[in-house]
Amino acid sequence: MRGFSYLRPGSPDEAREAARDPSAAFLAGGTTLLDLAKCGVAEPERVVDITHLSGLATITVGDDRITLGALATMSRVADEADIRTHCPAVAEALSQAASAQIRNMATIGGNLMQRTRCAYFRDPATFPACNKRAPGSGCAAIGGAVRNHAVLGVSESCIATYPGDLATALVAFDAVVHVGERRIAADDFFLLPGATPDREHPLEPGEMITAIAIPASPAARRSTYLKIRDRQSYEFAAASAAVGLELAADGRTIRDLRVALGGVATKPWRARGVEDALRGKIFEPETVKRASLAAMEGAVDHGANRFKIDLAPRVVARAILTLGGLA
């Protein structure tokens, strides 16, 4: 916890201007930022409070898309009846995330920007080595307690899991992140760690998420979010799947399928391999189960997290089968 200055800008432009300095941070619900400040990971010199900006909390559900203002809270979006109809996976992802208290505070924009729960990342006083926090310092997690670390998208520099639920659903349904006038596909909004795990998003200092748009689709309407964890509430996913399904007019041929994984990868993980394997196929349990194994293509474990490689395809298969009424 360091001293910092606190600003409450009157407009989005003022906010962007105030946050242009790399040592500045936007403050929305604060459930990530304050947490990280307390454990010594976030040390902003300037905190730019955007919670009072008007016009950024609107939720609109139109024929072609759902638009979520960046400052809409998780609980508001989760409870919105139209969203439960147009994209149940989004509502379900949100209502199974964090705790009721956190959902009441936390915003959609902040949610996308939440950071990994890697215990080594969060304890700088004890573990100086963390490439995500201090580029080039090494990775304290590899070789340590890694039950919750990623098996997909990992690099030699970092194996930290992206922990969020909402983004998994967004990636599945080709959502678009609005950063002022800029539009970034959700899948591109999250970067693989590679050699630069410190760089998690393509945002420049001062850039602010203003909204998220989710295109309407039959698959989004028939979608679900399945989150598996040891504790029934208030725990991050051991593995999760956001899945949407559209069947052809015959009621048994898969016309469109969307699959994304959470809790197992360094970013929200679109499983196109599963989608491709099933598009055009007859909806049938064995086919679905077999195809779901493709979700783990390229997976690498570090011992204690090996179970995720077995678990995730089962989660995918169950979610797909549930949507088709066969689970």
């Binding site: 916890m1 360091r2 215990a119 006083a125 340590g144 040891d230 504790r231 678990l311």
Partner: protein, 767 residues
């Protein structure tokens, strides 16, 4: 002195229709807590308060080479940077048995580091934020040496045998070798932590050589003794104030290093100092339950009758301390067997010294034996409930004494009935619903009745209300309420006419609120004092010249509903207040203790209240005294994911007479809830390279949430036990958790056919 000489209601546990002892009253301290009017220790802010923040080690073994305090010292608001170099000299204190301390200084800030997360330095500043910031500027360098992260490390070795824990009868090894049916398995529990909602910490204030401490405490007199010895001041110069305790589970019974640091800091800066241990720090500021492993060999007949039990247990301890988690506690008590052998080792590793956590010993012990007997049931094709009844111990098989009361058969019967046990299909994986594998499991639990003498003051006031005073504490367990009920009962007034004051050294003394003994010993003391007060009042009513009863010619009078009257109703019924006015008394005050006649010297009293040396074991006397329970559990295990959900719990419980069913049920259910967390979630995850617990926060150290908890039905089958306590109660607080984890593990086996012998039962173990 016993309860039988008054007209108290001695019913079974549910005699709750009356308005006094045995009644189902809500907690008297509840409304203040809900309104935020109950002031907890860290909410006391004396004038001129300064704030202290601790810095902990980031290595597990070695020595502190240097502490660079330059930047911290000049940070804004800093009053003091405390390190081993400028720390005040403290004496060592005696341990909780009162054994004389070593002639060496006590060092709450370590120069030699023996575990990761040990206190090394502290900062005192004007504000908490300034202290936090300055603490982050301290740079410590170490000369690290190799650490032993846990007892699985080969360098940890076998550990030290605990000879006093040896139990032997018959010839267990030979009988095992000759038994027609043999099973032998190892059961393990991980490090588990006390995570009460209220954090640890204190506010310390010096006034000359008098010390006032606001601190949550399970044992005011014991902690005051330690503080007095550390700081070499007289015991009666230490006042601890602890009217409310937000949970402790054993972790708030003893003074900790952070207490010494705060008190030392207050002395050095000449101001009151507040120190709150952060949640991450709390994982190493005091110890939780140590990791345990036990190997249990059961030899039995083909019908499942036990012939022999061979038990070998280990628990982790710290390299510079001594902690025993008695793993044979239930093993040698629950079942009849002609041959038994039990041994225990403690294995030093680089960890904080483990401490008590709800039912230390009994809890992991039951996980072992209650899993093993279940394995035996399957091995011989017996019903898991039937095999427990087949091996029912009619007397204490170890002490060879009769049970005072043992309603375990009744607990099994009522639990099985309410649960529907007879509809269970025996084969594993035989009860499926879609993707859900359903399993039913049973296990028993027990907790001993421990006894220490108590003391209480009862005061009848001029307005007819009553005050009860004791330095004993209420950590949400219901002490305020049941002591009011006890006094009300003995004095014949309504419980809401009784005000109970607790948790302050200035009040009559009390021993530790641990070992589930407090309710029984304090109701005994309050009952005794209240009867004496009643007798004094009645004596005055009969004899005082201005009493309205002067002419009634009664040998005695009765008090009911706050009115005094002649026993046969001949004559007036006078409210207590009116009598007090007539006889011109401001108050009647009686102080009583329950110490044995022969040990009431000042020295005896000091020992009784500040050590556990006088605590009587459950088998001291003619009987063996224990509480008992039987848990029936249904789980649903997802066939693909291995996730376990507890969907139903029914428990039959024998805690003897129950003073307030609502509060006792809440304790039992709380224990069961904690047991569900222990079975499925709780585990300190150690990074073995650093010997550090890395999930040291409540997002990552998982305890059960509401969503994990089904309806829990607890049914009291206890009967008043006159041998166990003055008013007939047995242990309540720690009982409920014992046996929950094995009941769940047994249910998981029934559901899946997979025997999980290592807690917690996480999904990866079942996939």
């Amino acid at each position: 002195m016993t309860g039988t000489d008054t007209k108290t209601k001695h019913g079974d546990a549910s005699d709750g229709s009356s308005n006094s002892l045995g009644a189902r009253l809500s907690r008297f301290d509840g409304p203040d807590k809900i309104r935020g009017a109950a002031r907890y220790a860290l909410e006391n802010h004396p004038a001129n308060l300064a704030h202290a923040v601790i810095v902990q080690s980031t290595i597990a073994a070695g020595t502190v080479r240097a502490i660079d305090v330059a930047a911290a010292q000049v940070a804004p608001g800093v009053l003091l940077v405390l390190t081993p170099d400028n720390a005040l000299h403290l004496d060592s204190a005696s341990n909780w048995l009162g054994a004389p301390p070593p002639d060496a200084p006590y060092l709450p800030l370590a120069r030699t580091v023996t575990f990761n997360g040990q206190h090394v330095a502290a900062v005192v500043a004007e504000t908490l934020e300034q202290a936090i910031e300055a603490a982050s500027l301290i740079r410590i360098t170490y000369d690290a040496t190799d650490a032993i992260p846990d007892f699985d490390d080969p360098r940890a070795g076998e550990g030290q045998p605990m000879d006093p824990m040896k139990i032997d009868w018959g010839d267990a090894e030979t009988a095992f070798a000759a038994a027609p049916v043999r099973i032998e398995e190892t059961y393990r529990t991980p490090r588990e932590y006390n995570v009460p909602l209220e954090p640890h910490g204190l506010v310390a204030q010096w006034d000359g050589d008098a010390l006032t401490i606001w601190e949550p405490s399970q044992w005011i007199d014991g902690m005051a003794r330690t503080y007095a010895e550390w700081f070499a001041i007289p015991f009666d110069k230490v006042r601890i104030v602890s009217p409310y305790v937000g949970g402790g589970f054993g972790s708030k019974a003893l003074a900790c290093a952070h207490g010494a640091i705060a008190i030392m800091a207050a002395k050095m800066v000449g101001r009151p100092v507040k120190l709150a241990v952060t949640r991450p720090q709390s994982f190493t500021a005091f110890g939780g339950r140590p990791a345990t492993r036990q190997t249990i060999a059961l030899g039995a007949t083909r019908e499942g009758k036990l012939l022999s039990i061979v038990h070998r247990g280990d628990n982790e301890t710290s390299v510079d301390g001594f902690a025993v988690e008695p793993l044979g506690a239930v093993t040698a008590l629950m079942y009849a067997t002609a041959n038994l052998s039990s041994r225990q080792n403690i294995v030093p590793v680089n960890t904080v010294l483990p401490g008590p956590l709800r039912a230390p010993g009994e809890n992991p012990s039951a996980f072992g034996i209650e899993s093993a007997i279940d394995e035996l049931a399957y091995a011989v094709g017996a019903d898991p409930l039937a095999i427990r009844l087949l091996n029912y111990a009619e007397e204490d098989p170890h002490a060879r004494k009769p049970w005072s009361t043992r309603q375990l058969r009744e607990a099994f019967a009522v639990g099985a009935e309410r649960f529907g046990w007879s509809r269970r299909t025996p084969a594993p994986r035989s009860m499926r619903e879609g993707n859900q594998l359903i399993g039913w499991g049973v296990a028993a639990g027990t907790y001993p009745v421990r006894r220490t003498a108590g003391e209480a003051l009862v005061r009848i006031l001029a307005d007819g209300t009553v005050e009860v005073a004791s330095s004993s504490i209420d950590m949400g367990t219901g002490t305020y309420t049941i002591l009011a009920q006890t006094a009300a009962d003995a004095l014949g007034v309504a419980p809401d006419r009784v005000r109970v004051k607790l948790g302050d050294s200035s009040l009559p003394r009390a021993p530790v609120a641990g070992g589930s003994q407090l309710a029984n010993l304090m109701t005994g003391a309050v009952h005794k004092a209240a009867l004496a007060a009643r007798d004094e009042l009645i004596g005055l009513a009969i004899n005082h010249p201005s009493s309205p009863f002067r002419d009634v010619q009664a040998n005695t009078l009765v008090i009911a509903d706050g009115r005094i009257a002649a026993p046969r109703g001949n004559g007036p019924a006078v409210p207590i207040a009116e009598l007090m006015r007539k006889i011109g008394r401001e108050q009647i005050e009686v102080l009583r203790d329950t110490l044995p006649e022969a040990s009431r010297s000042d020295e005896d009293r000091y020992k009784n209240f500040t050590t556990v040396a006088t605590m009587r074991s459950p088998t001291d006397g003619d009987y063996s005294l224990h509480s008992w329970c039987a848990h029936f559990v249904e789980v649903r295990v997802d066939a693909d994911f291995g996730t376990v959900r507890v969907s139903r719990v029914v428990s039959g419980i024998d805690s003897g007479r129950v003073y307030n069913p609502k509060l006792a049920e809440s304790q039992w259910q709380g224990g069961i809830i904690m047991g569900i967390g222990q079975a499925l979630l709780e585990e300190g995850i150690v990074d073995r390279r650093h010997a550090r617990v890395v999930n040291n926060n409540l997002a990552d150290y998982l305890i059960a949430t509401n969503a994990d908890i089904p309806d829990i039905e607890v049914i009291s089958v206890g009967i008043p036990d006159p041998h166990a306590s003055a008013l007939g109660g047995k242990a309540v607080g720690e009982l409920g958790i014992v046996g929950v984890a094995p009941a769940i593990a047994n249910a998981v086996y029934h559901a899946t056919g997979r025997r999980i012998r290592e807690l917690p039962i996480t999904l990866d173990k079942l996939m």
